[in-house]
Symmetry: C2
Subunit: 146 residues, 2 copies
DNA sequence: GCAATTTAGTAAACATGTTAATGATTAAAG
DNA sequence: CTTTAATCATTAACATGTTTACTAAATTGC
């Protein structure tokens, strides 16, 4: 029995449940990234750029769930480290177009195997069906108007 | 069609899907919290303390998904603002026991209604059954050994 | 055309995330 | 016992999260 008087149990609170689940999933990924001097955010950015090609920064921010001020700083160091390139868009000079470099792709490629092993491990324990169902529900939740 | 050659689509990547879903759910909660000078983390801490009573900091860290160094700083300000109290455990002097104050409970109480309205809104759009199913799957995912 | 508004990105300030190192205490091993 | 190892919490340093304010460029409305 708990002491609380009014609020919902935190384990049935959607925000907290999402956070805890994510911490579980991220633990081994963080281990992988620490070995290659990459943060979780930089990994997400590389994934998004690999998926979408050359895009503007606002798009990256949306897709990788980062705010623009954070992205500005992170891209600055990623450009310095040769993982991405940036150029001003000629038509709309407000826009900065970002693209992954060969070096960036190399990093993704080198860690693909580990990354797959991690998701396979989770899939083995949860089952493919449940995992797909979960992903469907998560996509549906994202689409909710708040 | 996408450009990527090898990795999974980010929308079917569990870590990114969890993050995006959470951003959706948190948006209105952040709006609520901004009105009462409370961060998302402080809100989680109050929820956990209300649920568990007097506990040590490591427990809070686990339950609220915070690292101890962050917690140390946050509790310092929460203590100064009168939302929690801290005392050294007499049996094990390494431990610090933390408890929510009346002021802390008052804050929870005052925002309970808004908080409920937010979850009800999500429930209305997703349906109670789907939401329960999602919470079940998230709990199951948390239990996976990584 | 032009003033007002909107949009893309950056800068600054402060809170939190994250890792590594440290101090203090307790538990374990011998 | 006592040395060693493990645990709880803090500090420091740097990266990122978050809000506000700002610049520059494009769009809208008139």
């Amino acid at each position: 029995m708990t002491i609380q008087s009014h609020t919902k149990s935190t384990s049935r609170s959607l925000p907290i449940a999402l956070l805890r689940a994510r911490e579980t999933v991220m633990a081994p990924i963080r281990d992988m990234l620490q070995g290659i001097q990459l943060t979780e955010q930089k990994w997400r950015i590389l994934r998004v750029l690999d998926e979408l090609g050359e895009v503007e920064q606002s798009t990256i921010a949306n897709e990788a769930c980062l705010l623009l001020p954070s992205l500005t700083r992170i891209l600055r160091t990623m450009e310095a480290e040769g993982q991405i390139t940036r150029r001003q868009d000629s038509r709309d000079k407000r826009r900065t177009m970002v693209k992954i470099t060969e070096e960036g792709r190399r990093i993704l490629k080198e860690n693909l195997e580990t990354s797959l092993a991690i998701s396979n491990n989770i899939e083995a324990q949860m089952g493919r069906e449940k995992l797909d169902h979960l992903l469907d529900l998560l996509e549906e939740l994202q689409a909710v108007k708040v």
